[in-house]
């Protein structure tokens, strides 16, 4: 069954001022209702920039979208006037950020901050907004929810703050929820609580979820689909099982192999040599070429096209599928 995606990002490219190349380069993906797409990749590869672009929160003076479209429920967000986007933000699409410690305004009570989101979009009375906030607090299983409404952020632990953020994001029943590494800053046990909570709430509301992370464990737990990003490009994407069972792109392999296995030591760790090139010295062709153990001369020249590997999996590598291309050599 094919449904219309809630979010459809097409060939999105973003360039920062003073830089020679598009940092985000023709990125495409889409998410359907109730589904979760995980965007993974190393730090600095452009995950957050992509998500901010979707939300219309990019710093206007520093970043420009050079091409592409971000369709949300049919509208192209990139062409909408600012006031229309403001009406959407926090209402039909919402976002949770990485740093629960700093993402809440220290000067206002958490209840106020949640209620504010409700009042802004639902135009209800303060009392109604507060009731909604309380309801949300209960929903995110905030202990002693009623009392907590009047707490200031600093009186809460990281896990609770992240619950507040989730409550705030979901207060207006958004169709799209973007979560930018919502658990990275939390301890393992708390992280598990939050992940469970998000999964549950998503099941409840049927919102589409764009989850950004660099932890493959999290991906495995929550994702329906995965997009692996390297240096501003999506190098591999597909359903989660395919990516874990049939990784194709050398970068995906490197990424997986360099993670120590929790199930027990499996010999020396794999490594990806070198480092991500600077924008100024970004290779012409495949951006991973300078670090790829399977590199060929041709890789440096032209950008590899995304090729379909079957089962919804797509890979942008000249040498995919590896087994046949490399194994044969």
């Amino acid at each position: 069954m094919h449904r219309d995606p809630v979010l459809d990002v097409r060939d999105l490219s973003i360039r920062f001022r003073g830089q020679p190349i598009d940092l985000i380069d023709t990125v495409s993906f889409s998410i359907e209702r109730g589904k979760t797409l995980c965007l993974v990749g190393e730090s600095g590869c452009g995950k957050s920039v992509t998500s901010l672009a979707i939300m219309g929160l990019l710093p206007k003076r520093a970043a420009t979208v050079t091409q592409g479209a971000v369709r949300f429920d049919g509208d192209d967000l990139l062409t909408l006037p600012e006031t229309r986007i403001e009406d959407l933000r926090g209402n039909r699409m919402a976002m949770i950020f990485q740093e629960p410690m700093t993402s809440l305004n220290p000067s206002f009570t958490v209840g106020h901050q949640v209620a504010e989101a409700v009042r802004r979009h639902k135009g209800c009375t303060p009392a109604e907004a507060r009731d909604r906030a309380l309801e949300m607090f209960r929903k995110v299983r905030m202990p002693a929810a009623e009392k907590r409404l009047d707490d200031y952020p600093h009186q809460m632990s990281g896990g609770m703050r992240q619950r507040v953020m989730i409550a705030m994001a979901l207060a207006n029943d958004p169709e799209l929820l973007i979560a930018d590494e919502p658990t990275t800053a939390l301890d393992v046990t708390i992280q598990a609580q939050i992940l469970d909570l998000m999964r549950e709430l998503q099941d409840d509301t049927g919102a589409a979820l764009l989850m950004i992370t660099h932890d493959l464990g999290v991906v495995a737990e929550i994702a329906d689909d995965v997009a692996v990003m390297y240096a501003g490009r999506i190098v591999e994407s597909g359903p989660v099982a395919r990516i874990f069972d049939e990784p194709q792109h050398p970068y995906t392999l490197g990424l997986m192999g360099s993670m120590p296995a929790i199930a027990g030591r499996q010999g020396r760790l794999l490594t990806i040599p070198g480092a991500v090139p600077l924008p100024a010295s970004m290779p012409q062709g495949c951006r991973f070429a300078s670090r790829c153990p399977f590199v060929q001369d041709a890789c440096h020249v032209a950008r590899p096209a995304l090729s379909d590997m079957g089962g919804g999996q797509q890979v942008a590598c000249r040498r995919a599928p590896l087994d046949t291309m490399v194994g044969a050599a």
């Binding site: 926090g90 950020f97 809440l104 000067s107 600093h154 705030m168």
Partner: protein, 315 residues
């Protein structure tokens, strides 16, 4: 909170003692014999000897300090060597003037500095930012005394709009009081406005980059609400504290501005007293301004706690 304030007051005591010792030592180091000045043009040796005795100028410095400190503890700051007026009365008569000037200057400074600071932070990198910066820096860079003289020349002498100098108590004649104070308050205010503007700007810049401002935008709040509510509410903290501190400094009087506009406040009083070697006055007034300064520091800290929920609810 109360114990916090009490503790702060306790800490202030050694500071005050040190201030008094510094001032005492410093003025005793000043060359020039106050008794000679006081003896008058005729310098009668008999009078000189008597005055020396009377003001304990013959005793060792330490004893002089001890006598003075003892008197202060009994609430007696001594009498002016020059006019025989009790220093306490002097202070009482100058304090309202100084406070009025300080308040008006502060108002000028805040009315100019804070909006300009917000604007230039929000419009960072644009000509608005640049202009606000240049104006603010000008306020810092023009010497007060020069600006004062130029204003008198222009506004009072050439245009005749405002009185050139003097002081009128607001209880006696509020309108006159206002008109005489506007120019000096403006002159003082411009320099402070610059400081306030710069601090507001940098606080706002810091806050505008904060994650919670992004959160507020992600909620779909209008830009104005994001800036004035979410951002400014947090940026205001250092600004308010700074204002209290600046106010504390203003209490010490604006030496040259008061001199130029002939405003009978603390600044003029101290300078004249230093030049006249009116020790009792210097000592008393500096002590008083130090108390004011420390008090405003305390106010700044308390405001900081009150405005900062993180500290307010810490107990």
């Amino acid at each position: 909170m109360l114990s916090f304030i009490l503790r702060r007051i306790l800490i202030a005591i050694p500071t005050l003692i040190l201030v008094s010792m510094f001032v005492f030592a410093l003025q005793k180091l000043l060359p020039g014999d106050p008794i000679l000045v006081m003896a008058g043009e005729d310098r009668d040796p008999e009078v000189i000897a008597l005055l020396r005795e009377k003001y304990r100028m013959n005793e060792p410095l330490v004893m002089q300090y001890i006598y003075w400190a003892g008197d202060v503890l009994r609430g007696d700051l001594g009498i002016s060597l020059r006019t025989n007026e009790p220093v306490l009365d002097l202070i009482a008569s100058k304090l309202p003037v100084t406070i009025q000037l300080a308040i008006m200057s502060m108002l000028f400074a805040m009315l100019i500095g804070i909006p300009a600071g917000i604007l230039s932070a929000v419009r960072k990198g644009t000509w608005v930012d640049w202009l606000a910066n240049v104006v603010a820096l000008s306020g810092l860079s023009i010497p007060n005394f020069w600006l004062g003289i130029m204003l008198i020349l222009l506004v009072s002498v050439n245009l005749g709009w405002l009185p050139a100098s003097g002081y009128e108590s607001p209880w006696v004649d509020p309108w006159k009081s206002l008109t005489t104070m506007i120019m000096p308050a403006f002159v003082l205010g411009t320099a402070l406005a610059a400081t306030l503007m710069r601090h507001t700007r940098s606080a706002m810049l810091g806050v505008l980059q904060a994650d919670y401002v992004r959160t507020a935008r992600a909620k779909g709040l209008r830009a104005r609400v994001v800036i004035l509510k979410h951002a400014f509410r947090n940026a205001v903290l250092p600004v308010v504290t700074l204002s209290a501190l600046l106010f504390g400094e203003l209490l010490a009087g604006a030496v040259l501005t008061e001199q130029i506009f002939t405003i009978p406040g603390f600044g003029k009083l101290i300078v004249d007293a230093v030049f006249n070697r009116d020790y009792a006055v210097v000592q008393g007034v500096v002590l008083c301004t130090a108390v004011g300064f420390i008090l405003m520091n305390l106010v700044a800290d308390v405001l900081y706690v009150i405005l900062n929920p993180r500290l307010r609810t810490a107990q």
